[in-house]
């Protein structure tokens, strides 16, 4: 075990400390906070899967994608849904090809074994052949198996695990604890370099204790203003500083309101893109009103916000002014 452990640590060597992880992720446009970097660091060193929970759209899936990008290893994504089973998650035999193979074999059987032999001779001759019917050539690997087979390591993303059935969750336990999968006809396939496993959950249902126990747990919440500004800046390079401050302040304010669905980071980024596209240099009430549908996805949320919109926009506009003033300067507005 310690061998593979070292292999893992050595393999993802670019991520040798939490600081290095933060930097590496930032280089591919993912702004991680201290918690995230630390948990990824632990995951690599303790060889443990990470279970990420948090509201939709805060970058749970994106973390896995970014990890893959900054390590330059493939990301195997397994999207969970009700009814997902082994044949879609692990492997499947290519029945069509297998059938063709038997046809071909039948036609050429005489050439291979020769004619006019007794049955016992035939069987002993046949048993010397390699069993091709169940072999790697006819195996269609699915995400879990593919992740195990990557020699350079990989990132395995099991997305929205809470949507799968409980049987599948139990099946996953085996894969996650030993980093190996068993194909009955072929034997056990073990990962040379254990993949970095990321599981995400939106809390549709409570996950089993057994799964939680095996994972490191990471909760990603909505970011604070500082981090959100960095994220938007990284994702939408064209956004001007003033606008950036205002729009982030507005979104942060919006999250404090009593809403059905609070806007997440992905919505902030979309909104920033929209505003840049419309050549807005600062927020004003009319443009916010026009583009509010990018942020809020429920009719009732939009109508409940729209009454106090003017005030919220002014507050957000002030936020950017304040930060330009030297600290301690009295706010005269």
């Amino acid at each position: 075990m310690s061998d593979t452990e070292n292999a893992a640590a050595a393999h993802y060597g670019a991520l040798s400390s939490p600081e290095a992880i933060t930097k590496a992720l930032a280089s591919v446009g993912y702004i991680a906070n201290a918690d995230i970097a630390m948990v990824i660091y632990l995951a690599i060193n303790l060889r443990k899967p990470v279970l990420i929970e948090g509201p939709a759209g805060v970058g749970k899936t994106d973390l896995a994608q970014s990890l893959g990008r900054c390590l330059d290893v493939p990301v195997e994504r397994l999207q969970c849904y009700e009814g997902l089973d082994e044949s879609k998650a692990l492997y499947e035999w290519q029945y069509g090809k297998q059938l063709l193979y038997t046809q071909v074999l039948k036609d050429r059987l005489d050439d291979i074994v020769g004619q006019g032999r007794s049955i016992s001779e035939l069987t002993s001759k046949l048993s010397t052949f390699e069993d091709l019917f169940y072999s790697h050539q006819f195996l269609e690997p699915r995400p879990l198996l593919r992740a195990m087979e990557q020699d350079a390591g990989s990132v395995l993303l099991v997305d929205e695990i809470d949507k799968s059935d409980e049987e599948f969750e139990a099946f996953l336990l085996e894969v996650l604890s030993d980093y190996q999968v068993t194909v009955p006809e072929l034997g056990t396939i073990k990962a040379n370099v254990p993949p970095i496993v990321i599981l995400t959950s939106n809390n549709i249902r409570e996950l089993g204790d057994a799964l939680k126990r095996r994972c490191l747990h990471l909760f990603i919440d909505f970011p604070d203003a500082e981090r959100e500004r960095q994220i938007v800046k990284a994702r939408v390079p064209g956004v001007e500083d003033d606008l950036l401050k205002q729009l982030v302040a507005f979104v942060q304010d919006l999250r404090d309101k009593d809403l059905k669905k609070r806007p997440s980071i992905s919505e902030t980024v979309d909104w920033a893109r929209t505003l840049v596209l419309l050549h807005a240099s600062s927020l004003d009430e009319s443009i916010v009103r026009q583009t509010l549908t990018v942020l809020l996805k429920h009719e009732s949320d939009i109508s409940s916000v729209s009454t106090g919109l003017g005030q919220m926009v002014r507050k957000a506009a002030n936020a950017s002014d304040d930060s330009r003033l030297p600290s301690g300067y009295p706010n005269l507005s």
Partner: protein
């Protein structure tokens, strides 16, 4: 204290605060500490959190305990590095000779360390109740050798000399001083190890206490308890089980699955029954006698919103009011919402017949064969027409009808109570006097949707 001991004690503390930590997780924590070290507290905090606390609620408990546990352990952590040396020569640790010398030294770090050692010796981590603080602090003082000093103190006093008196004075001060510190120490330890246990004891007691006998302080404590029970039940019922309906082939899926085998059905898929999602219509009598129960039932069901998404709430005393909208707030706003419900629906004399006919006129279409009808009330209708005809029709339309009656069974049917006449139409009628009853009733309702 060794590094492992520090950690296992912390795990104990977490467990007593209802954070479930398995042995495997403890081992993970040891690995983490090996990797990270004790030096940086904030780093240690975030990394241990990922290993030990696995839900939002657990993370809160974790944060509170981590701060408590590791703040008093500044010297303790230092201890852990030189642990073997200290443990061997207990008695004259840190170069102080006996109790008096230590107490008068003014060396806070050494005193803290000595207290920690004494605490460990007397098994302070077993503390469960706040009343034990005094007992344990005395035991600690004893372990630190206060008795030897007391013997000397007596001897000194018997000298009847001015020097003897002065010495005695010093010793008495020292003892006083150390007693205070030991008490303080025991109290923080109680906060760490005992509070969870006390809480559990209290909750156990509360959940069995009759709701109408509770006083205000009990009621305040009930809210987190109700939330906890509801959470537990929600977890239980959010588990999805597929029910296979053997006997009917799902032709479409079978063909698709076997397309690779020339359509020969090796791999047969069966039709699966869809599980109904719980749909609950709740009708609450909010007259004075029942109001308290209504509060808890509503709180309970609203904590379970994840599981019970389709919930319609009506309240009445004279006329029926749809209060679903008022209650559609976050849990923090629940109390105010409840006030509003009482204000809007809680006037007039109770009339079950009127409520039923209001339901018939405005909301009859809500009741279908997936619906469970829950009625919470004492069925005391002030001698009005109980409208049994409507009730019978409603129960026939609904999947099940559950009546929760806070009155004791003996009183059903007495005076203006119509309970016995409603009784035959209900699927279940159960008494409701404690929180446990409430939990059982809701559990029963949800179980019928599996």
């Amino acid at each position: 204290m060794s590094a492992e001991r520090t950690l296992t004690n912390f795990v104990r503390a977490l467990r007593s605060a209802d954070v479930r930590v398995s042995t495997g997780e403890t081992l993970d924590a040891v690995q983490v500490v090996k990797l990270i070290g004790y030096s940086d507290k904030s780093v240690l905090k975030t990394s241990l959190r990922a290993v030990l606390a696995k839900s939002n609620r657990e993370k809160q408990a974790y944060d509170r305990l981590f701060d408590l546990y590791f703040s008093q352990g500044q010297s303790k952590a230092a201890d852990s590095e030189t642990s073997t040396k200290d443990d061997n020569e207990s008695g004259s640790e840190d170069g102080y000779d006996g109790f008096l010398d230590l107490a008068t030294s003014g060396d806070d770090a050494a005193i803290d360390a000595a207290l920690a050692r004494a605490g460990q010796e007397v098994g302070l981590e077993d503390i469960r109740f706040s009343t034990q603080v005094g007992y344990y602090s005395q035991k600690m003082l004893k372990a630190m050798g206060v008795e030897e000093m007391e013997t000397t103190l007596l001897e000194r006093l018997q000298d009847h000399s001015p020097e003897g008196d002065a010495d005695a004075e010093v010793m008495i001060d020292a003892r006083k001083n150390m007693t205070t510190r030991a008490l303080e120490y025991a109290r923080t330890q109680f906060d760490i190890y005992g509070e969870g246990a006390t809480q559990q004891f209290r909750e156990d007691f509360l959940s069995k206490k009759r709701i109408n006998e509770m006083d205000v302080s009990d009621l305040n404590r009930m809210k987190p308890l109700v939330e906890k029970l509801a959470r537990r039940l929600a977890t239980k019922h959010s588990r999805r089980r597929r029910r296979k309906n053997r006997g009917q082939i799902d032709l479409r899926r079978t063909l698709r699955a076997n397309a690779g085998r020339d359509g020969v059905p090796f791999d047969v898929h069966w039709r699966q029954k869809k599980k109904d999602r719980p749909k609950i219509i709740l009708i609450c009598d909010v007259s004075n006698s029942v109001a308290r129960y209504v509060r808890f039932l509503l709180l309970f069901l609203y904590c379970m919103q994840d599981v019970v998404k389709d919930l319609h709430t009506f309240a009445f005393s004279a006329r029926l009011k749809d209060v679903g909208e008022i209650l559609d707030t976050s849990l923090d706003g629940f109390e105010q919402a409840m006030e509003k419900v009482m204000h809007e629906a809680g006037w007039g004399s109770t009339d079950y017949g009127q409520a039923l006919s209001d339901l018939f006129v405005d909301h009859w279409s809500l009741i279908d064969r997936k619906t469970t009808l829950i009625i919470l009330g004492d069925a005391r209708s002030n001698h009005g027409d109980p409208r049994l005809d409507l009730f019978e029709e409603a129960t026939a339309r609904a999947k099940r009808t559950v009546w929760l009656n806070p009155e004791s069974r003996a009183l059903w049917g007495s005076g203006d109570s119509e309970m016995l006449r409603y009784f035959p139409h209900c699927s279940v009628v159960s008494g409701l006097s404690t929180l446990k009853d409430l939990e059982r009733a809701v559990d029963d309702v949800l179980t019928h949707y599996r």
